[in-house]
Symmetry: C2
Subunit: 200 residues, 2 copies
DNA sequence: TTAAATAACTGAGTAGACTCATAATTGAGT
DNA sequence: ACTCAATTATGAGTCTACTCAGTTATTTAA
């Protein structure tokens, strides 16, 4: 038989396939039951790999969640950036970026909070974590672009402002005080704060 | 023998004494080695109580850290509020409140980050957690007082502004990106952000 | 003084994330 | 085809936060 035409050898293909199975298994179980209700054993079993193998692909259970959630976050961010372009007002445009992220983050609220927790407190050296950080940086960059539409905001320092908006988002989406709110209410909470920040 | 003159019975006194021993043991071990390097067994042993008893006084290991750290935080806050009164400029006064908190939080950086993590992600129904929340509210209230010195800031909404300052503090003190900075540099980072926030 | 009721204590046991010694698989060299 | 070094997979075993059924201490009531 001829050697396969792929550039990747069997070893690389097997690895990719295993990662795919693990990602799929984790996504389904985490989404349905929530991270805390799922054991790594269950994910391994569903992915049909050994329990130790899991940890070759994600160093911790939380990293496994990053792996799964990054995909959804990236999609939400794309939607938001698109929507922001259609908004005339700066505040509206900023919220256009933020709103899909809120929704994505709160589909399963426990997972969303754990995701954000891991971004701040996890190990930035891990590959899935690095990807998550890149996403938050992309989010800030998108906010910077919007803020720069306004000369005065640009003069105040759009980079710093975007950083503050990230902090506002983080706290509003994770705070236990906001656990009882729905997506729209969290959005309103963030909007009110961003409004104060920008509208000074 | 006459009954003791205390209003508290033996049971209450025993409980208080045990709590004191546990607090002292946790403080010493956590301070010297860091939370993650100390097991709950070691704390129990040092406090001379059964390993299960520990969890009657703090529902989780993280709650135990809150118990210990709340005291230090409260002291730092008092110092800061005092110092703020002596500052003429609003920004300087805000930083006067914040600076002792930064120092207190970074004496043992791992513990400081874990403390903040627990405040956001822990169970607010737990008593030590409730106390920690009260402290952050007291901090915000102190910041509000300072902001209200300036009519324009008061008009913008000093409560919301103080909330944003809390968010800035949280992120700057916990972010892995700032792990390499010293206290002064973290202070500068926060000051720069607060300056942008207020100075708009 | 004693008995019953209640509160607090205890440490062996459990659960689940993660490790690591060993085994299986792969691909390059011959 | 056959080494063999390097990579990847495995699951039994470890570690430790936390639980709970049974015990002990204190208070109250008779």
């Amino acid at each position: 038989m001829q050697p396969a035409p792929q550039t990747l050898g069997r070893r690389e293909r097997n690895k990719q396939e295993k990662l795919d199975r693990i990602t799929a298994a984790a996504r389904e179980l985490f989404t349905q039951y929530g991270v805390d209700e799922v054991t790594t054993q269950q994910v391994a079993e569903k992915a049909d790999v050994g329990s130790g193998t899991l940890f070759l692909y994600a160093k911790t259970k939380a990293e496994l969640l990053l792996l799964v959630h990054n995909v959804k976050y990236a999609e939400a961010l794309d939607v938001g950036i698109e929507a922001a372009a259609a908004e005339a007002e700066v505040l509206d445009a900023v919220m256009a970026i933020i709103n899909p992220i809120i929704t994505c983050n709160r589909v399963q609220i426990e997972n969303g909070r754990t995701y954000l927790k891991e971004i701040v407190f996890g190990d930035p050296a891990e590959p899935h974590h690095a990807e998550a950080l890149a996403l938050t940086q992309r989010t800030e960059a998108a906010v910077v672009d919007v803020l720069n539409r306004d000369k005065k905001l640009a003069a105040r320092g759009s980079g710093k402002l975007a950083g503050i908006i990230s902090a506002i988002m983080f706290i509003s989406m994770t705070s236990a005080a906001n656990l009882g709110l729905n997506d729209a209410q969290v959005g309103d909470d963030i909007r009110a704060q961003v409004s104060v920040l920008l509208g000074g």
